[in-house]
Symmetry: C2
Subunit: 628 residues, 2 copies
Amino acid sequence: MSEKSPIVMHLSRDGHHHSGDFGDSPSLLDYINTATPFTLPAPCGGKGRCGKCRVVVVEGEFSPVTDGERRHLSPQDLARGLRLACLVRPTAGPARVELEGERAGVGNKASLIEEKFAILPPFRKTLLTLPQPGLQDQASDQSRILRQLGEDAPGMPLAVLRKLAGALRKNGFSATLCHSRDRVIAVEAGDTRDSLYGVAVDIGTTTVAAYLMNMTRGENLDVLSALNAQGAFGGDVISRIHYAMTRPEGLRLLGVKILDQIDSMITALARRNGIDPERIYGVSLAANTTMLHLALGLPPENIAAAPFISVTTEAQRVPSRELGLSIAPGALVQVLPSISGYVGADIVAAVLAGGMDQAESPCLLIDIGTNGEIVLGDRSGMVACSTAAGPAFEGAHVRNGVGGVAGAVNGVFPGKGRPAFTTIADAPPLGLCGSGIVDLLALLLRAGIVDETGRMLSRDEAASAGIPDDYLRGMTEAEGEPAFVLVPEEESAVGAPIMMTQKDVREIQLAKAAIAAGIDTLIGHAGITPGEIGTLRLAGGFGSYIRRESAAAIGLIPGELLHRVEVMGNAAGRGAIMALLSENMWKRCDEIRRAVRYIELSSSPEFQDAYIDRMFFPKENTKTDNKL
Amino acid sequence: MSEKSPIVMHLSRDGHHHSGDFGDSPSLLDYINTATPFTLPAPCGGKGRCGKCRVVVVEGEFSPVTDGERRHLSPQDLARGLRLACLVRPTAGPARVELEGERAGVGNKASLIEEKFAILPPFRKTLLTLPQPGLQDQASDQSRILRQLGEDAPGMPLAVLRKLAGALRKNGFSATLCHSRDRVIAVEAGDTRDSLYGVAVDIGTTTVAAYLMNMTRGENLDVLSALNAQGAFGGDVISRIHYAMTRPEGLRLLGVKILDQIDSMITALARRNGIDPERIYGVSLAANTTMLHLALGLPPENIAAAPFISVTTEAQRVPSRELGLSIAPGALVQVLPSISGYVGADIVAAVLAGGMDQAESPCLLIDIGTNGEIVLGDRSGMVACSTAAGPAFEGAHVRNGVGGVAGAVNGVFPGKGRPAFTTIADAPPLGLCGSGIVDLLALLLRAGIVDETGRMLSRDEAASAGIPDDYLRGMTEAEGEPAFVLVPEEESAVGAPIMMTQKDVREIQLAKAAIAAGIDTLIGHAGITPGEIGTLRLAGGFGSYIRRESAAAIGLIPGELLHRVEVMGNAAGRGAIMALLSENMWKRCDEIRRAVRYIELSSSPEFQDAYIDRMFFPKENTKTDNKL
């Protein structure tokens, strides 16, 4: 009987509260992410592997602590009520659970670089002053407009027609029409010609960025970034595809999550800039292929398995109402084209932003995010590939890895004595983000603590090899293997030391080998030498914050290109902005799609060879005489 | 306390049951029509005037019987538990109420006449046999199709893309594309080229008809008609506009009602003909202007008051998904154009169906439904008007008036002795539908019981005027005025005599005067004489069943055109079918819209004069010597 009674759940986070019936959800994580307004991150897809979905149970009875939780939570954690939401469910209520506040949005992804091109929006405004209707002139509202505009006037979507009567009558039949060549986007009372706005959106697997643009002046008014609300359903594209295809309504649910999030971001951008969201007449959307599929409700399952086929790689124009965006009634969402299942519209946007398709000499573009996408070429043609680099550089699958949030260690330096570090927003350290991981590994390589093959010395081996005391002090063991503590427990914000383990090194080693081998393969296909590459462009949040010396030190990028590196910031966002602001740029996206030849690495023997070669760390950067 | 407890309602009709909380609905009618799957007719808009929303209360406590109910219900009715749903609400529950079965659908509106024109559907099918994807050919599903179709292939709406991956893989990348010039409507696994269906819909204020068409052969496979589900919200366009504009969510609710009904009708048609509803690739829609506004969610308020402006009179193509129709994912609903706020797409369709726009000599088209619309002209041009005839000819505002349902008296004849009558489906008589009303009035005029001015003799006057006994026997009083009983109580299916009252005669007199005056006004505008009119076409259900002699006898149609009458059946439905089957016919609708000049009668002095003239009944048809 007591088993069958409903269990009332009370959740709170940052002062927000939600109550409901737990029902028969398989886990607290599942309940929170599907039945409440809150979301919890679960990069491992809720399998108890990543330990990121921590909650504090405050009241009620819960299922017993599992071994999985003991792997991620210390006895002190458990004593404080910490549990992993994916491994726990309430057994008797009422149950009360607290969620930690979201630490998102501290802007690793929101940077924007100005680019010179002619502003040429796909829509414009026309002021209409129409004669008032009367018994002698009974033309319908739409006919009255068409009579003025002429025969080949653009058509009016139903959503525009629904608001037409009100708009015309509010200001005595003086109204402003916003329209493209073939479609009326809005009809507004009075003269609103000075308001013309649009939003460019870049959906990253981890982070979503939205840019509010003044479409007349091409000016970026504001930007907003946030963790992708789908993060709760898996940290990487494969987990999300798995969720979409195996859960009932999974695809619909993921679509709703991201579209609701984009709608909220657009509304927030408009509101805080004093703009009516209905004055936003267009949205451009860049993202990797899977994120686009999920946002558009296209089944992504065939992307997940060979031969990795997406439903579409073409550019799309979708009525914003169909995607539930509360902007101008007839607005279109312009979805940028993709190249393949793993080289998406975000890469097309980055190629556009960098002008690679018009470059005189070969450029190499690397975007290391959850996957590593690489493009090589110039105006004469381009080749691209995607490497299954894994999300190690985004902090996943790394013991103390975190995303680019406040408190993430984003830089590590030799320092005096012990290695020194910096954190994002100078907050107390809570883990290592990508640039911190690369810096720390480069340092361990230079110190000789990690050798060319990726093996980490034990403390005893290090002592006998003459590693200085300041480094020896950091050497410990984790999971029965050597590890190096960067931040001791007493300085850490998470109540435990922040370290890099032997296993972490292996993860990074695999990831960097994949990217380096991808570069080698493209160079081979392009028939050039590394020396012929004029520029190495690093795109994405990781590319912006990584120290190029460290990247070269671990062999992630070719050493000979170290001084030809250009950091692009959020190139995908920038390309999306360009496609929004200019019809010519929008058309160029499609030209780029056609100009880039995709190289499938999974069936490439060259890649296999290069992958094994690149597994080792560069010799010149590893210390063999064991002195710093 | 007892006032505040929820009142549980149990409703039943035809073996279907619904239970729910009555909440704070203002009346039982409002509750039934907004919170349950049932609908009750309420031609007066729920104001207690028409007495049509009868229900039987079986259990529970209800508000006291009102004077309004006593006007419509006899003491015997009240003793049986009969109440008017608009004037009663439960006061304590549980309450149990029975609704009478719907008597709809006995086909006054469903007739169809074959017309000769070239079948030229706006979409066609193409069989695709695509190469299978592999690691050497990773083109996306959409690219794979475009590669085969070529550069200027039609675009794919999101709804089609969402089903693309499944459709291509179900039959080894052999698939059939259904597409128009610029839009893919569906992609289906295998070879489905022999399935090409469409549906034409005519939304009448009272009745909705849907025609399932084989689009390849132009063959009508099936037809379905039903009472308009919006009937619950008022019997005429003005009541519905009032509901839409004064109730919160009124417009949305009316839209949902009719779109749900159309969707159900289409699904039912498909199912009972063994057709997958997704194999329906197009819908054409004709209706009066208000019904179109309500179906499309366009605010109709400016149609209701001078100068009677509609949001649009243009043809529209609306994605079927936007209207919630579960047909082929990319299908469009083609909405026929209208002429004005009161001369709708149904009239454009009727002009097309009759070929008036290509006629050599003037035609007169009359569609008497809830309003009376009239068009006069030929290939050289047309004029049209709408008369506020009121719904008298549809049985409303007439004491024993009913719609064209089984049991409606649809013909009255002199007979031997007492007047004889026929009923629809030979069912026991339950009231007079339009053709019965006109027949009976014509008979009373010929008998001298009603004089040229519309005055009905009292029984005493009739006796002294020498009216034969068989007619005298029918003469009685109602509401203090003379009345004529056609069906005595003992033969009637409603437990009361079926009669025509003095007040009924006045209603019909006003209605027929409006139509006759409308005809006069158009003839004046066209600058012709009645003798030049080659054909008089009667459209609509009433026009199909009316006896032309009776119509001429009461002065509804010009006597000199009696032998030039052609009955069109549901001309609007037929025109909608033609527009569905042929792109040329669809284009002609727009030509008709432009060719017809609308004459506003409310500001026409000619109409005012003619209206007064036509108030009298034709002299030649009234008996002055009081003999039959």
